[in-house]
Structures are given as C-alpha cells and as structure tokens.
C-alpha cells in the first residue's frame, strides 16, 4: 500500500522538452517538402514507386507525431499496442480488399472484351 501511494505521488505532469517539440516540428516540415519532391522524381519502370515512397514518408511523419506529440514514447506500452492494433486492422482491410478486387480484374476484362465497346 505504501509503495503504491509513493508511485502515485510521482508527478502526473511530464512536460515534453521544448527543444524536442521544435525538433519534431522541424522534421515534420522537412518531410512535407520531401513528400512533394519525391513525387516529382522520375520513376521509370515503376510508376507506383512515387506513391509508395510518399506513403513511406507519411508513415515516418505519423510515427513522429504519435511518439512525441501524442506522448507515446513515455506512455505505458499498452497505448502503443492499441494504436498498432488499429493500424494492423486497417492494413488487413485495405490489403485483403485490394487482393480480392485484383483477383477479379481478369474476369472483368474478359467480359468487357466479349460484350464489346
């Protein structure tokens, strides 16, 4: 009981250092510039590369916001698990839906060729 009380008297407030907030903000602004720049890169044979790079950069930005602005770096790991769980569910949803719809594209094209323009 005593140690529990002692733990709770540890200050609730944990102000994030000002330099860290500014550093994260600076990184986010730079990454925004990078996002726009990346989509102008010539991708040659891989037209989807630009999109994947932009998504990758967006994810880095999201991780920075979640860890530092949303305080997950110092929080109980359970909160991060909750967030990651949600993101995994969304990835499953998008991934499975895309797989499923791609599976049918051959059939659809065949049908369209058969019925004509």
């Amino acid at each position: 009981m005593e140690s529990e009380a002692g733990h709770d008297r540890q200050a609730l407030a944990h102000p994030v250092p000002a330099w860290l907030l500014l550093a994260v903000w600076g990184a986010l602004m730079l990454l925004t510039v990078a996002t726009v720049a990346v989509t102008h890169l010539p991708t040659g044979d891989l037209p989807a590369l630009g999109l994947w790079l932009a998504m990758g950069i967006a994810t880095v930005k999201a991780v920075l916001v979640a860890l530092f602005f949303m305080h997950l770096w110092w929080d109980k790991p359970f909160h991060a698990i909750v967030l990651i769980g949600a993101l995994l569910c969304v990835m499953l949803l998008v991934g499975l839906a895309l797989m499923d719809t791609r599976d049918y594209q051959g059939d659809i094209r065949e049908h369209q060729q058969r019925i004509g323009p």
Binding site: D8, L12, T39, A62, H71, V82, G85, V90, L93, T101
Partner: protein
C-alpha cells in the same frame, strides 16, 4: 487506506478512481480507444480509395490535375504547425503557465480556421468549375482544356475533353467525401478547443489537473495524422 486518505481532498479526483494517476491513465486510454474508432472510420474510406484507384488508375491520373497542390501542401504545413502549438499547450498546462496555455490553444484554433478557409477556397474553385461529386459533375469545358496534359495538347485538334475517361465523377465523390469528413473533424476539434480555451482562461488547468487539454490534444493530433495521409493520396498522384 493510506492513499485513499492522501487523495481524499483532491478536488479533481472523481470518487470512483483510487488515485489521480489512475484517473488520468483511464482518460488517456479512453481517448486512445476513441481514436481507434476514428482510424477505422477513415480506414474504410482509404480502402474505398485503394480499391477504386487500383481498378481505375486512369481516372485518378486524369482527375488529380484539377487539385491545387500548393494549397494542399499549405494546408499540410498549417496543420503541422497547429499540432506544434497543441503539444505546446499541453506542455504549458502541465507547467501551470496559463497565459502560454491560452495563447497556444488560440493559435491551434486559428490554425484550424486557416485550414478550413483554404479548404473553402478550394471547394469554391471546384464549384465554379463544375467539378463536383456524382451526378453534379458537370465540368466547365474551358477548365478541361486548360488542364489538359501536355501530350494531349500536342495532338492537333482533339480537345482534352475527348480524352476524359469514364466516371471521373467518382474521383470527385471520393475527394469530397474524404476531405469533407476530415474538415468536419477539424471543425469539431475547433469546438472542443474553444471549450478547453474557456476553461483554461478560468484557470482550471495546472500540474495537478490537465487531462482535458491532453486528451483533446490527442484528438487534434489524429486529425493532423489523417491529413498527412490524405494529402499525398489525393494531391500528389502522377
């Protein structure tokens, strides 16, 4: 019994919580669970986007030209800055610096307002050019020709309108649905922030009690996160 007595006179501690830390952690977890529902909500819309773009990439390549990348990038920067002022507001609340807190909250609300105004300008352009959703997609011919791809303009005679793929209207349905719902979330965030601002001015927040600022902050950061993904997906297609 010791800790119950120690916290007995804490005015911010609700009777059904044993300690202020437990109350705070519960509130934070509760907000995270709500954010999860928001992530799933927008996740479904991103799935819609993904499936439709995967099946009809030509529509997205054709239609994204009508979106103003500069305004989109500006809005991204505005929201990132508002996230900074929001995080700073939480910091100020924890330090008990009330004037800094109210200043940062006001700046965050202002950021949201600028975002919505830029959005409003974009929507107004779309309205003027007839680039709306579904059956309301009735593009003004001059707009189609003006934003024709360079290769199309080189082909003599044929107007860009002839190159328009079928069902471009659906891109705009997706665009307005996703950015509209996001804009609504920004508006709700601003209302929440205004409420917190009023309470902050009354001096309600300090190192012992800053949970409402913290939790509304989490919501605002999520709104920023969603836009961080929306921007490249809608505006930066090549």
């Amino acid at each position: 019994m010791n800790d119950a007595a120690a916290h007995a006179h804490d005015p911010h501690l609700a009777h059904h919580f044993a300690t202020p830390r437990q109350q705070f952690e519960s509130g934070r977890l509760g907000m995270w669970l709500f954010l999860v529902t928001e992530i799933l909500l927008f996740g479904v819309l991103f799935t819609l986007y993904g499936v439709y773009r995967s099946n009809h990439p030509e529509i997205f390549v054709y239609a994204h030209r009508f979106l103003d990348k500069t305004l989109g990038a500006l809005n991204t920067a505005v929201l990132i800055c508002s996230s900074l002022t929001m995080a700073w507001a939480v910091r100020a609340a924890q330090q008990g610096r009330t004037r800094l807190l109210t200043g940062c909250l006001a700046a965050t609300i202002l950021g949201g307002l600028v975002f919505l105004c830029v959005k409003g300008v974009e929507y107004q352009h779309k309205w003027k050019d007839g680039l709306l959703w579904g059956k309301h997609y009735q593009p003004v011919r001059e707009v189609l020709e003006k934003t024709a791809p360079r290769e199309g303009a080189a082909a003599a005679g044929a107007p860009a309108a002839a190159d328009e793929p079928r069902n471009v209207r659906i891109f705009f349905s997706i665009y307005f649905l996703m950015t509209g719902l996001h804009g609504l979330h920004v508006l709700v965030g601003m209302a929440l922030l205004a409420w917190i601002l009023v309470r902050a001015k009354r001096g309600e927040f300090g190192p012992a009690y800053f949970a409402p600022v913290d939790h509304v902050g989490l919501y605002w950061h999520l709104v920023d996160l969603i836009w961080i993904y929306l921007f490249p997906l809608l505006y930066l297609i090549h």
